[in-house]
């Protein structure tokens, strides 16, 4: 069976950051682990009707939130590094 999840992608300075509200259960584990403390509850509701999450532009696209999510509800893609200077 092919399944598709609807992502909500935010383009941030350092990367493309996607949450899949249909997977997010609002546990908050990611929020705690974000090194930049840039994740917060979102108005977009997750699968259980609880808030999902979203980052602000502090995000460094490190992918930790993706890593710690037990539901694979986050996907982070770093932007290719622009040439320095």
């Amino acid at each position: 069976m092919t399944v598709a999840f609807k992502g909500r992608t935010l383009e941030l300075e350092k990367g493309f950051w996607t949450v899949f509200p249909g997977l997010c259960k609002g546990c908050g584990l990611c929020i705690q682990k974000c090194p930049k403390k840039c994740l917060a509850w979102s108005d977009v509701l997750g699968v259980y009707g609880t808030p999902s999450i979203e980052p602000n532009d502090e995000c460094i696209a490190c992918g930790i939130c993706q890593n710690v999510c037990p539901d694979c509800a986050i996907m982070v893609e770093k932007k290719k590094k622009a040439k320095a200077g």
Binding site: M1, T2, V3, A4, F5, K6, G7, T9, F16, T18, F20, G22, L23, K25, G26, C27, G28, L29, I31, Q32, K33, V47, Y48, T50, Q66, N67, V68, P70, D71, C72, A73, M75
Partner: protein, 254 residues
Amino acid sequence: MSVQPAMPKSWRMDTKPHKFCPGCGHGLVLKALGMAIDELGIQDRAVFGCDIGCSLLSWDFFNVDSIQTHHGRTTPVITGLKRANPNLIGIAYMGDGGGYAIGSQHLVNAAARNERITAILVNNTQYGMTGGQMAPTTLPGQKTETTPYGRDPEKTGYPVQGPEMVAAITREGSYVARGTIANLNQLKGYIKKALQNQIEGNGFSFVEVLSACPTNWRTNAEETWNMVEKEMPKFFKVGEIKVPGAGKEGQENG
């Protein structure tokens, strides 16, 4: 197709979101396991056995042939399967109650017989599925439904040292480690080694995982991480405890 979640290839998409509670450590352990299966390329010959305990919720978790067994009985089911068809890669996935309490005779004896299977035991310091009773792993002072005033080690002992026990009764050839959901890459590494050890036919492989049960712990995300990263490691040492070939032991203990 639009951007899709970075789930392990071996996860079964159409049963997601999975049935574990928000913030449940089982999801993370199964993520590490899924990645390990992917990286080893064994999706076609792995057989996933899950216990009764919250692990039962994973009976249709993977795109891997799976069998939901009885409480504590995943080790013998997978043992029987592996004995019958050694080409399969048998994974016995269980909770701390299933592995250290009701199924401990199976764990201990499968280990002693050096069964070529991989056992993964999720330590969440209590019985999740039944609503949070004491487990052999419950921490001193921890309140559970059957230790409402906190676990008193004078009355019920200290948290069981599972991997240490398994290490004590296995010989050369077995792999024993304790990982944590707080370090998923390390955990994936341990699980991979545990599977690799089976693939190579060396012997019994066992990984305990320090996990989280926010529902029965009644913890918010911050407290959950604190429990996993600060409290549990005081009683459970993370690391590899036995690695095959790490040092030749004599086969006699005389």
